[in-house]
Subunit: 368 residues, 2 copies
């Protein structure tokens, strides 16, 4: 659907129905931007010592172009750093009504607590000034120093009144398993403000479990496996049960695996529930009620009918949300994301309806 | 089916059709048995220093009775240590035609290389004398010091002529990812002797990936996730492609997850195959041809029809084999393993046919 099509009838020119929400867009802050937003103390620290962990794009193998779409490099910048190019290539090109930004700079790395706090505050300031204030189609994920819960909660409290921050960002692996009691204050603060927690693939420790792979292929196919470890921990440690308003959005980790995981968890719980009194109901019920999934990179069965099987088996009808992963190389265009045979009503939910409900986005917007 | 039923016709008394093979039975060697089979040098070492890693049953949380069936404790021993009780409770009780032993003592722990070699040799000697020589229904998995490939290969060469060792045992996590080139000599030696490699849940490092969980529930539900990491590594590093005669048996890791993993791998490979020239075909083809799965603990969908969906989606028709996991607490009886609605032909394959084909077991045996 092009924007033109919605403008043919004069009455509809003022507003259009929201039909496409992109739930995973990665903006990139250039080092000079970071530096000028830090206090002198931590700017000096970075100049002298650098960061304890290199940025994710330096440590992970990448297929090409630092893992970016070849056409996404603005002149003199890096992909995701230029609003005009992102508007042109993504929002306008695909007529995206709302796009949710996930800046990955803050969650990666294990630097001193106050530096992590300043870095995340700087990223959030930059998200407001360079993106949210300049295009009303954009929303953002709040970056927090996730391994310093007190500082993370302070950042949530500082920003929660800005409704353009629609969720809190968390990496798929951290210093401790994601369900650990340590992180509950962050989840509680997010839930108290009605903010889902988006768990994004990655985190510096993601591969310590098996050692590092030789090929990017393994890392890429492993995103869905790392995400299963994260969700299993969040369920079994009781975080979902203890914080019923906590909502999780699993981004860039696939979704088809959720069916088998639900069965494993329910079967084990049926035998072991005396061990975990926090879990009063079968684990799959918490997943059905409190967990959403982004489509990119959704598993693609050979047989399109299997896609609908999975929707049913994993109870995903109201839980799957479209995402492009722009500007990364494995960008999903809305025309290619879903297989044949997905009913119209479900397509509409995946492309916009479910995200509008979860994030409280309006169902119509200015036709622009 | 009771043994009596097959004996009603006199002509059939001499032999009966093989209808039930149990692919995962855990015998346990008592410490005194281990000690007397070690050389004086390593016996002294164990007395003075113990083992570097405690045995798996000491380090893992367990639901009760050290994770054993409450009725499986022989007088003065531990579950799995007594042939007569195992014959009574398992082989005779369920009329099992063949049972495959997996002794987990050897693969766990990181002690000095020569001690690991002696320990595994002792376990294999004990398997022959205490089990294989005393019941012709039993077969065994060859224990090897998996993180010392040269010593592991020597043990394979020493035992390969004894056809009662039907596979080589490997833990689901080791010092390096399971696909690492380091382990290929073991896989090559197994393949050269026509022995599948059985990857069993566990291994001392299984949870370093996310840190240790608080509850056994998470560990139990995580078996299937750890197994996905192992299989992903074996596929992506090219071990299956480079060693086409290598056959893997994934034990105690479930199977339903294989559908989503196949889709993830094939999708990533379609975009990245120039990175991994060893993988000439979509990864799922290597899995279909070279990977088998044990049923215990098979995922149990709420809707039995979903079980058949998964068989089809993951191409498991000829790849799934029955297992009880005796004497562990989550023992699966043959009457409870499969949901309603599994066709007779498929049931026969799962309960006996596929294992007979893979392990070269006879299709009939003495009615005894």
């Amino acid at each position: 659907m092009t924007r033109l099509a919605t403008q043919t009838a004069p009455d509809e020119a003022a507003s259009k129905a929201v039909t496409l929400v992109d739930c995973d867009i990665h903006p990139v802050m250039l080092p000079a931007e970071t530096s000028r937003r830090l206090s002198a103390r931590w700017r000096r620290h970075l100049e002298r010592y650098g960061r304890r962990s290199p940025h994710i794009t330096d440590t992970y193998p990448r297929p090409r172009n630092q893992g970016m779409r070849a056409d996404a490099w603005p002149e003199g910048g890096v992909p995701g750093s230029d609003l005009a190019l992102l508007q042109h290539q993504l929002l306008d090109e695909h007529d995206i009504d709302f796009g949710i930004l996930l800046a990955l700079h803050g969650s990666d790395g294990y630097d001193p607590p106050e530096l992590m706090a300043e870095l995340n505050r700087a990223v959030n300031d930059w998200l407001v000034e360079a993106w949210l204030d300049r295009d009303d189609r954009l929303r953002a994920s709040l970056c927090v120093p996730h391994d310093q819960p007190a500082l993370a909660v302070a950042e949530i409290e500082r920003r929660a009144s800005d409704g353009r921050f629609v969720q809190v960002l968390f990496p798929a692996s951290a210093q401790e398993p994601l369900g650990a009691r340590k992180y509950w204050p962050i989840y509680e603060a997010a839930a108290a403000h009605g903010l889902p927690v988006a768990i994004h693939t990655g985190g510096y420790y993601a591969h310590r479990g098996t050692g590092w792979p030789s090929f990017y292929l393994e890392e890429h196919a492993g995103y869905g496996t790392i995400m299963q470890l994260a969700l299993t921990s969040l369920v079994c440690e009781g975080a979902l049960a203890a914080i019923p308003d906590l909502k999780l959005v699993l981004t860039e980790g696939g979704a088809a695996w959720a069916a088998a995981l639900r069965w494993r968890l329910d079967e084990a719980w049926s035998l072991l529930h005396d061990e975990t009194p926090l879990l009063e109901r079968p684990p799959s019920e918490y997943i059905s009620e409190q967990v959403w999934f982004d489509t990119q990179p959704i598993e693609e069965p050979d047989d399109p009918a299997h896609f609908m099987d999975i929707i049913q088996q994993a109870d995903l009808t109201d839980r799957l949300m479209f995402a492009t992963d722009y500007p990364h190389w494995d960008f999903d265009s809305p025309t290619q994301t879903l297989p044949r045979g997905v009913p119209k009503e479900l397509r509409e939910k995946i492309f916009a309806g479910t995200a509008c409900d979860l994030y409280g986005l309006p169902r119509t917007r200015d036709a622009g």
